[in-house]
């Protein structure tokens, strides 16, 4: 074997014990800081209340919106799955950069795939801590029951979380390679997708050339699917399947990008210097 090349087998060997150790590490951190826990609920709650009241107001004055009950609240809750899912992933990675702990992890037997799996689990845990209380608030305030979407919610969730992980993995790779100077990307990258994935309006509103861009992004299919469900009471399986295929490609690209950036970080010495 070429001494400089990666060992393909050991690189992808998975130990659940090491993954559990990393999850435990992030859990200790969450548990130790009530502001961190509060922050997980705070913004989703504020967003949901704002859009919910706006929807109430518009619904009382416009026939279409009266018919499309819950579209805004549904959109804001699904958007938060996408946004908070990515943030939950990226923040776990940033914690290692902030605490200058990355080198310790990289010289331990922890494999990159285990590191990524632990951050995926943590993104779900962070998401649940934030979203479950907010979804219950939506029932209390506006009578919108996200769980009433049933199987469709599972399909929406799966597609959105896959997109969020794909973006989170890639962004973590960029931060690892370029240092904390690239941290802002973790906080802002999803907002680039917000107008393009048509969270609050149908794709048809966009100019034709931008519609092509929108349909190349998996979350667009989810938000269109949500509107079809809430307005036309029709679950569009075709949209979910298309989104799933696109997500698999996107996830593969994100993971591949992470591995390439890790290799570049190893070449450039970025793993030793985790500052800017």
């Amino acid at each position: 074997m070429n001494p400089g090349s990666e060992n393909p087998i050991s690189q992808y060997t998975v130990s659940w014990r090491r993954i559990a150790a990393m999850i435990e590490r992030y859990w200790y951190l969450l548990r130790s800081s009530w502001p961190r826990l509060l922050e997980l609920v705070y913004w989703p709650a504020v967003q949901m209340l704002m859009w919910g009241f706006l929807q109430l107001y518009i619904g009382q004055n416009a026939g279409y919106f009266a018919r499309a009950g819950g579209v805004f609240i549904g959109a804001v809750l699904l958007w938060d799955i996408l946004f908070r899912g990515q943030l939950g992933f990226s923040v776990s990675f940033l914690e290692e950069m902030w605490s200058r702990n990355l080198a310790n992890l990289m010289i331990s037997p922890l494999r990159p795939i285990e590191f990524v799996l632990a951050m995926m689990v943590m993104s779900i845990i962070r998401l649940l801590i934030g979203m479950v209380p907010v979804s219950l608030l939506a029932i209390g305030f506006f009578g919108f029951n996200l769980y009433g979407l049933g199987l469709a919610l599972a399909a929406f969730f799966l597609n959105l979380i896959l997109t969020s992980w794909a973006v989170g993995i890639f962004v973590s790779g960029v931060v690892m390679r370029n240092g904390l100077g690239a941290e802002n990307l973790a906080w802002s990258v999803m907002f680039l997708l917000m107008p393009l994935t048509c969270v609050y309006y149908p794709v048809a509103v966009l100019p034709p050339w931008l519609q092509i861009v929108a349909w190349s992004l998996p979350p667009t299919y989810v938000f269109e699917g949500m509107r079809a469900l809430l307005i036309d009471h029709q679950f569009r399986v075709d949209l979910m399947v298309e989104a799933l295929f696109m997500n698999m490609v996107l996830f593969g690209a994100g993971a591949g990008g992470f591995m390439l950036l890790l290799r570049a970080a190893r070449r450039h010495g970025s793993l030793m210097q985790t500052g800017e």
């Binding site: 074997m1 070429n2 001494p3 400089g4 090349s5 990666e6 060992n7 050991s10 690189q11 060997t13 130990s15 014990r17 090491r18 559990a20 150790a21 990393m22 435990e24 590490r25 200790y28 951190l29 130790s32 800081s33 914690e95 605490s99 200058r100 702990n101 080198a103 310790n104 992890l105 990289m106 010289i107 331990s108 037997p109 922890l110 494999r111 290799r263 190893r266 070449r267 450039h268 010495g269 793993l271 030793m272």
Partner: protein, 250 residues
């Protein structure tokens, strides 16, 4: 034949800003304690990073127990560990939580007992349930050392392990390192600016300057070669480009 603990051959690392390590070769037998001496920018940390597999060499090879780094690092990483004042542990986690997480990553059996023993050995018992970030720098260095020893490494890489410590704590840390090496038969490579430390601990000293090995030998041989009484004087001779006495005589 048993491979050496560390075998470095014609190691080169070139960054965009220039050459950091320039053709370094050395072999460390199992159980040896070697000092890597050099000023800032000499290439010590870069060399250690390549031995750990954190950094890919531009050319040359590093083998740890016969495994090429970084390509075959997962064959040996569980047998190694590292401590440096430039790498921290999560500050909000308690000492016990940090050691538990790293112990699990390294697959340490009987982890609770191991942590208790390490805490006892390194004077951390009273600090185990305090957040790591609330400790003094000396206490944090001891925690980092506990992390570096949690898996009973056969190869221990230390980058300035006593930097920022007061003389008493530094002396105390050195004594523990000596004891650990004697008990475990571990191979230790220690990068340091502290000549007294290297003189006291190391049976071999490699002096680096501008990415190259300038000299390599036992402390006694280096002192004799340069006609000096302390390693600090030897270091200054090397740093300032003065030839050693044998060369000067020629």
């Amino acid at each position: 034949m048993t491979p050496p603990a560390i075998d470095v051959e014609r190691l080169v690392k070139i960054y965009q800003r220039g050459m950091a390590v320039d053709g370094v070769s050395f072999t460390l037998p199992v159980g040896s304690l070697t000092g890597l001496l050099g000023g800032n920018g000499a290439g010590k940390t870069t060399t250690i990073a390549m031995i750990m597999g954190l950094l890919t060499p531009t050319s040359g090879t590093v083998q740890v127990f016969g495994a090429h780094m970084p390509g075959q690092r997962y064959r040996v990483l569980h047998r190694m560990n590292f401590e440096s004042p430039y790498v921290d542990m999560p500050m909000r986690l308690t000492v016990r939580q940090n050691l538990t997480v790293f112990g699990r990553l390294y697959g340490v059996d009987g982890l609770a007992d191991r942590i208790a023993a390490l805490a006892d050995e390194l004077g951390l018992t009273e600090l185990l349930d305090r957040p790591t970030g609330k400790l003094s720098s000396g206490q944090r260095t001891r925690v980092s050392l506990a992390k570096a020893l949690v898996n009973r490494p056969e190869v221990l890489l230390l980058d300035e392990p006593t930097a920022s410590l007061d003389p008493d704590t530094a002396d105390w840390v050195r004594a523990r390192l000596q004891r650990y090496r004697a008990e475990r038969g571990a191979t230790i490579l220690l990068a340091s600016h502290n000549m007294n430390e290297v003189e006291r601990l190391c049976e071999r000293v490699i002096i680096m300057k501008k990415g190259r090995i300038e000299d390599d030998g036992t402390p006694a041989r280096l002192l004799a070669r340069y006609g000096r009484h302390t390693l600090e004087e030897v270091f200054l001779d090397v740093a300032r480009g003065r030839p050693h006495t044998r060369e000067a005589a020629q």
